[in-house]
Symmetry: none
Subunit: 246 residues, 2 copies
């Protein structure tokens, strides 16, 4: 793990994750792992059913110790959200109340700038948020799900919100996998094709003169799409030499 990287992301003030009456320590740990995967660290737990600190939570977090050990525990939701300026409720059930509903992606995109603290409320695994808790929030967060099987697990719901937050706010630079190998030059590729063509000619593959340009074009096309490296071009030339020597 790499402290400075995490702090860098942290400084961008991701939302607090507030779990109300979570039933299982494993789920808290699994949620914490997902949070830290996407740079969130502010975990708040209201009346956990099991003891706290909780060894199962720590194990399930798979190394996200700083999130578990730094989690704050509260007796009341009101205390857990006291410092927050924007509060979202993660819930799929329809509520008998009027409240704006926003998609997760949209909400994370709109999430206020650093320093303005936001939080997302999650209810117990079995029952979800109570109406009283939903009423505390400004906005309901909704995730588009399969209407035939719509109940997200608690850690999965936390994960998706962390993921969407990070996909908007977390990336400072391009994280693509670096390639330290060079693609072959055009000239190396042309030599490969010429070599292949002459061996195919010798083997009788190109005996139909009308088909020949098209056949060679198709082969060039197919191999050309692969962005072959120098080494791969050499390997393929070795293959051609070996096969045609037989």
């Amino acid at each position: 793990m790499n402290g400075p990287e995490i702090s860098r992301i942290n400084a961008k003030a991701g939302p607090a994750i507030i779990l109300i009456e979570p039933q299982l320590g494993e789920n808290i740990g699994f949620a914490a792992r997902g949070m830290l995967n996407f740079g969130l660290t502010d975990l708040r737990v209201v009346r956990p059913r099991e003891d706290w600190p909780n060894a199962k939570a720590l194990t399930a977090s798979a190394g996200a110790d700083e999130v578990i050990n730094g989690a704050k525990v509260y007796d009341h939701t009101s205390a857990a959200i006291a410092d927050l300026r924007h509060l979202y409720a993660a819930t799929a059930r329809k509520r008998d109340m009027i409240k704006p509903v926003t998609g997760v992606r949209e909400a994370m995109r709109k999430m206020a700038s650093p320093g303005t603290s936001s939080g997302v409320l999650f209810g117990p695994e079995r029952s979800g948020l109570t109406n009283d808790d939903v009423a505390l929030a400004d906005t309901i967060l909704s995730v588009p799900v399969n209407p035939g099987f719509s109940s997200l697990s608690l850690p999965h719901a936390v994960l998706l919100i962390s993921y969407e937050w990070f996909s908007v706010h977390g990336q400072s630079r391009d994280e693509r996998i670096q390639l330290d190998v060079q693609p072959a030059t055009r000239s190396q590729l042309l030599k490969l094709f010429t070599h292949l063509e002459s061996e195919l000619e010798a083997s009788g593959f190109l005996r139909n003169p009308e088909m020949r340009p098209r056949m060679m074009r198709n082969l060039r096309n197919a191999l050309g799409r692969a962005s072959l490296t120098e080494k791969e071009v050499s390997a393929l030339r070795g293959v051609i030499r070996s096969l045609s020597r037989k």
Copy 2:
């Protein structure tokens, strides 16, 4: 659960989820729950460490019985992917090979139209995919994560891919890119590689037994990147036949 709704989504042909040597039944079940939350049902398991059928998987799926009970189990990855036309590898580790890397969201947006089968490979919880398994895929799928804590749990990784698939394809509108040529199936590609390997063996190209796996992996990688069509696979097999007949 609501059958017709699921079938409606299903009919849009989401990717197969292929778990290679998953260690824990719970993780398979938890992954299945996330799949069905986002309308995916095609689960394939290669050499699960625990017995199959697996009661823990069924319990952890929390009602996604149709995914668990419908899962197909294989001894070899090659059999599990034989019918697929586009294969992605979910991996975060750097690899010493050239392969296109695509973000999950981008990949799901590009995922081919209904009827063109795609799949995503996932490695074991502890170690992830082997280089040999990554070499089977056309494209590496990457999820942008906190570089200081980048290891996603297996069910979380499956969830994110299911979520991104659904966020593009689960809703009614159609943003997909149409393809008018079909890429070859994995089974056709595997036959091409087997054919090439046997001719190279006959020609003495593979006489160094220590180098052989690596040489073949490099060739598979190079040719695999080209997204060869059925016709191109036939043409290349003709080339191999012609050259080695000489």
